[in-house]
Subunit: 360 residues, 2 copies
Amino acid sequence: MQHKNFKNIDKVVFGRGSFSMLSDIIAPVRKENKNYFVFVIDAYFKGKELVKRIPALPEDLVLFEDVDAHEPTTQQIDALRNTILAQKGLPSGIVGIGGGSIMDIAKATALMLTNEGSSTQYQGLNLIKKPGVYHLGIPTISGTGAECSSTAVLTGPVKKLGLKCEWTVFNQVILDPELIASVPNDWWFHTGMDTYIHCIESENGTLNNAFSHAYAEQALSLCRDVFLNEQSGRSAQNDDKLMVASLMGGLSLSYSEVGVCHALSYGLSKILDYRHCYANCVAFQHLEDVYPQGVQEFKKMVAKHKIVLPQHLAEEWSEDILTKMAEVAYNLPHMWHQAFGEAWKEKVSLLYIKDLYKRL
Amino acid sequence: MQHKNFKNIDKVVFGRGSFSMLSDIIAPVRKENKNYFVFVIDAYFKGKELVKRIPALPEDLVLFEDVDAHEPTTQQIDALRNTILAQKGLPSGIVGIGGGSIMDIAKATALMLTNEGSSTQYQGLNLIKKPGVYHLGIPTISGTGAECSSTAVLTGPVKKLGLKCEWTVFNQVILDPELIASVPNDWWFHTGMDTYIHCIESENGTLNNAFSHAYAEQALSLCRDVFLNEQSGRSAQNDDKLMVASLMGGLSLSYSEVGVCHALSYGLSKILDYRHCYANCVAFQHLEDVYPQGVQEFKKMVAKHKIVLPQHLAEEWSEDILTKMAEVAYNLPHMWHQAFGEAWKEKVSLLYIKDLYKRL
């Protein structure tokens, strides 16, 4: 009998204002590794107040990464790694400050600083050869669960697939709900829905067990508080809840898996450069036959927060684009297995997936 | 702004039958540390089926510890450490198989194998000087949260207090719900109630935050499924739930704290050798003024499972015993602070605590 043996984040701080503990937290790592630190920050924060609070020393490297245009790519990670090593050699550690993309960039770069060659050759499970440098994540938007996952999802020339191993997991995460207060409303919603969809796919899948179920159930309850119930909407209390929901949704996936929506979403990101959480929302609204209750509730939340999701997108898509997206999605067997069980190929074909895309 | 920076269990397996993964899990540790393993097992399992499944090699040390008579003591840990070192030197690691006491014994022994002198000198926060050896916990009864806590509670000549630091936390935990199926009914109930009481004390305390609240809320919901709702009672499904509840209750405490019931319970254990979870139940039933809803619900669960808790115990206790217990309880300021806030001394005195004990 084999079950997953999952690696936890080593250490976690949760609390309002905890960002200010960053300097103290990395001090012993600086001392032990006797080297500089890299801070990788979402370019969105350039010139903003948060940047002034980053405890960078003169020898540290502060890098802003633009993550608006596309999901993190293998090319981007390789370039970042080369820049860091060329400029200052191996750092003591790397701190990522931003959303899911920055979390993945920090995790992937930490690994690639010590593993030779291109990151494309490590896309998959347990292909990484050596532990990376110390890496610390500070989410500034909540929902992706990237703060606790053992994968750093990268889009490569051939596939969108993560560097997945236990060394990917952060050594430290700082969860400061104050940091997510100023997220633009659409992003707040789309990213929060990533957690909601994680839980729906986790619960309605063949791998769900008491562990993943307990986490999903609680994360769903928190999502309802944040996005659906009477006290829903933007508030300090709901920022606290959303940050915990994102973590718990991610932990639910440690035993379960995502499903149909994420498979479609990966195709949209790989072929059309849709951002992950947005792509999820675009696809999820049309999956009522697969996740009936989840999609119904999702639509209530969309309506409640006056979110406009695009319709009739597929009308613009050529057969070639549809085929390419379907191929990306089909090549995620773990997601189809989660959704439909071992015999998923009886139901799922390229044609079936193309038909799903045509609903969008 | 300071928040707790809590250390997670490094790795966790959850699932029915996962006990059989033990051999594979420790194989790389054997290889890396090039030494034998110690297995510390609750003496309850002597001659039982489970012992035959322990993957001990000829060079390993298999030790049965009797934990029925009293809580783990500093003397017991020192003796165990001395025995192990005298017989075979420093091991590659230590595996604890049993309830909360065995979890604490495994954690404390792992630390004391590398820290000189008596464990009494390390009772408290961050007094341990060096990381211990690799330690792995396999709970065979659920509720104490000892599988995830950063403390190994020991009763010493002067105080009942844990060896508390991040090195205390297990490197690995195997959560196999099949192992708790045969727990005697009273123990199943008393130990399960430890989680329930953790959550009530966590929720009704000054340190509670969104993180501890989310964990407590879900653990309470699981406790209700196991002990109160229509499907409550002994079943495979409820064993799954109880094992997750115990973990989540323990994680709730990572940000919060226990309160009045645990303070009283420590006095009962230190002075009268009451077992921890039983002592909690004995005390909790009389704390309706402090935890009104919690105690009411607790009593429903006691009635539902026909558990008999002793009454009028205090009639047999001398003033001297009452004073001694009150002194033990009073010297747990973090618990009183959690229950009543910074000004707890305005409410809580030796007299107040003695009056609480007189209710028992």
